[in-house]
Symmetry: C2
């Protein structure tokens, strides 16, 4: 029995009951990110019914999220409804999509406990229910690391959800407007328009690049009173883009600097409403603070009473099974190889999650065809080859029609690495082909074209 430390395991909760003999087996998927959606997309729904449980009814195309903050892309272009990715969720009477958070798992009873995410508009709040599974796939993702620093959650913005991007955009435009008011001191103007980004990985670099694009092109044209005050500072503890080829790192550094981004090596010690304090004691006043450091296990994962990998993720074997619990699998950011597997925990990357999603859904379709989809049927089934991750390369935009493409398979390998405008074209085309639906591919292309011709949109909505 694996329960979270919560008080509501009441057996009286409404339940989506277990499937009966003769009915299709039910796969319950927790999550709506890269891993979950790649899995959902490929699942053969002639073999399985599927239930998706997530507080979010859409997938976020995270590599393009930074572009939405400054209006290069529209928010809707980077979101794909889960029910479009797997249409059985929309159409099949025995498949369901629940807007809820999972609060606990009973691996003996093969049940998950859920709590609805709502507005306070159901007659009883919060609403609890249970869902029985034949197979459970945990792909619930990760949370940003705040290193125990107070003030991060209250004052900084993360950049992982569309709502984050929307809030960042609103704050940015608000600060631009407010800084124009009569009587604002020079000091206050500089503070309001100082955008500080913490974390020099692809997210932080892409956002800094987009922001500097926005400043150099749009702010200059549309905010005449304050265009000389707005600045971007990127603070990183070590090297920016540390997983990229050293030549590309130098290129990124030069390019960002040329675009006016101030690169600072430092460690954040304190976060206050109007300033941060670094470990060397220096104070950095800011108007907008974006926190894009690494990620770690979520509260939900921490609460699960399952063996964990190094770093605290749900422990899995080479087939992404949770050995301690039959019929439970885990993948993506929330999962990591157990020590006894003898392989390092993979980085928390979209690419890893997607590859794992593909591997696992192919495994499920195989065992489903062998009638091992139902609960407690797959224990001794041969599962085929284990999962092997092959890094296809990394890409990051640095703004202003320039990007980096690093096609080496690992940090020490040789291989192709490109930078510049051609890379930017590759970056954009790759994303266009990988976006989940024709509708969004169309929208993204249109957005980019429109921004090119008309400039970014800056209605504060």
């Amino acid at each position: 029995m694996v329960e979270s430390d919560s008080e509501y395991e009441g057996p009286n909760y409404p339940t989506l009951e277990a499937t009966k003999p003769g009915e299709k087996p039910r796969v319950v998927v927790l999550g709506s990110g890269w891993a979950a959606c790649r899995f959902l997309k490929g699942l053969d729904t002639r073999l399985y019914d599927v239930v998706c449980i997530s507080p979010r009814n859409h997938m976020v195309f995270t590599p393009l999220l930074a572009s939405t903050c400054v209006g290069t892309l529209e928010f809707r272009s980077v979101a794909e409804p889960v029910s479009q990715i797997q249409t059985a969720l929309a159409k099949d009477p025995n498949s369901y999509s629940f807007l809820a958070a999972c609060t606990g798992v009973d691996t003996d009873k093969h049940e998950v406990y859920c709590e609805t995410v709502g507005d306070g508009k159901l007659s009883q709040e919060p609403y609890h229910f249970k869902v029985s599974y034949d197979k459970l796939v945990i792909a619930s993702g990760s949370e940003p690391l705040t290193f125990g620093i107070k003030g991060v959650k209250e004052h900084a913005f993360f950049l992982r959800e569309v709502s984050h991007a929307q809030d960042i955009r609103k704050r940015l435009l608000l600060n631009l407007m407010l800084s124009q008011n009569p009587g604002i001191s020079e000091e206050e103007k500089e503070r309001l328009l100082h955008c500080v980004v913490i974390g020099g990985g692809p997210t932080g670099v892409e956002f800094s690049g987009e922001l500097s694009d926005f400043i150099m092109r749009d702010v200059r044209q549309r905010y005449t009173h304050v265009k000389n005050y707005i600045r971007v500072t990127l603070i990183e503890a070590n090297e920016i883009l540390s997983s990229f080829d050293v030549g590309l790192r130098e290129y990124a550094t030069k390019h960002l600097t040329k675009c006016g981004v101030r690169l600072v090596r430092g460690v954040v010690k304190e976060v206050h409403a109007n300033k941060i304090v670094l470990s060397d004691g220096s104070e950095v006043p800011y108007g907008l603070l974006v926190w894009s450091t690494g990620v770690g296990p979520s509260e939900f994962v921490k609460s699960l009473n399952l063996p964990k990998s190094q770093g605290g993720r749900i422990g899995v074997d080479e087939w992404l099974r949770v050995p301690a619990a039959e019929d439970v699998f885990a993948l993506g950011d929330c999962a990591g190889f157990l020590e006894q597997v003898g392989r390092p925990v993979l980085p928390a990357l979209a690419q890893v999650a997607e590859r794992q999603g593909k591997f696992l859904v192919e495994l499920f379709n195989r065992i489903g065809k062998q009638d091992a989809g139902k609960a407690l049927c797959a224990k001794d089934m041969p599962l085929g080859d284990p999962f092997v991750y092959k890094h296809l390369g990394s890409m990051a935009s640095v703004g202003r029609y320039k990007a980096l493409v690093d096609l080496r398979q690992s940090k020490d390998a040789k291989g192709l690495s490109l930078a510049g405008f051609v890379s930017w074209l590759i970056w954009r085309s790759a994303y266009l082909t990988r976006v989940m639906s024709w509708r969004n591919r169309f929208y993204v292309a249109i957005n980019w074209a429109t921004t090119l011709v008309f400039g970014r949109d800056n209605s504060r909505i």
Copy 2:
């Protein structure tokens, strides 16, 4: 001296000081709606500097707002930044756009008092400042009428701003998702999915039409579990579309009914969290309540110590001047002819506001050329012909590729009135030509085309 009943007329507030001799006269415009933006668009900025003060930095293309709630159009397509409508606000060092609400006017000193609209992120909250004007144009709009009924503001949605449309959309998608949860009773499911619209004018009718489109086309395809539960009820005290030709009204009634909208004649007496009560005592449970009755004077207008028209709007003469205060003009929903003018107060329509905006800006450009733009210079200037409103016709969509076009100049005139698909084409083309910028025309056309091909988008963002 005309001040609102507020406590902060402090002379120490930061001030945008009065223009000096030799400098261009400054026009201060309060508002960012139809009247304000039509005025701003046409203002000759070689003659005037301009300051726009509004809590909103964009204009909302209200006829298309209903379409954004269900995803036919994107929110951004119906919003136009004020600084794009009048580029001097973006580029000219002596023109300004302030994100603030006006709290009072000192007509002797020629000053307006302002309070910033923000997030609580300025060092002092709230932030007050003053702006001196040579000429003041009050176009601050109106507020929805709630007839003193408790609960409207807490539980119902208005449909006048993009944020309203966003909230309606989120709630609608949330209710669709929540109603699918295990264990939800039939009664609760029906309540959650009952969308009730109060007010049978164009806004209410258009929204009901869009909603029934959404249900018949998208919900049917994407929400298999609840598609038979979702319903739309439109409640109107008198006749729907009462300003339209009677034949068109009958057409609209038939068409809405055919699309599944239940038309109810009734008067709302009470509004509670989960139900409304009509004056005949009947109770109507709802999951989504949209309040689109008429509009009336805002709190700001009520607070101004100026003579008012019938209905409580700021009183103006036939040249849209406020006779009691030199250099002050008012137009749009917030203004109405004084009784002594002998003309009826015009309806609160976008068309009226736009015509008035055009009239007034042409007047301003004329007197500006005669060097009467500065304060206290235009008192005896001949102003030309007074404003005359000529109704060009009314249009309303009723959903499902059908619309009404009523080209009569008044309720009792004869004239062309059309209904059906051709009208729908006219409705859509008219809006395309009237949207303020090429960018948005492009976006609107693309949105419509995409919805036609791919269906509406229903990510809950």
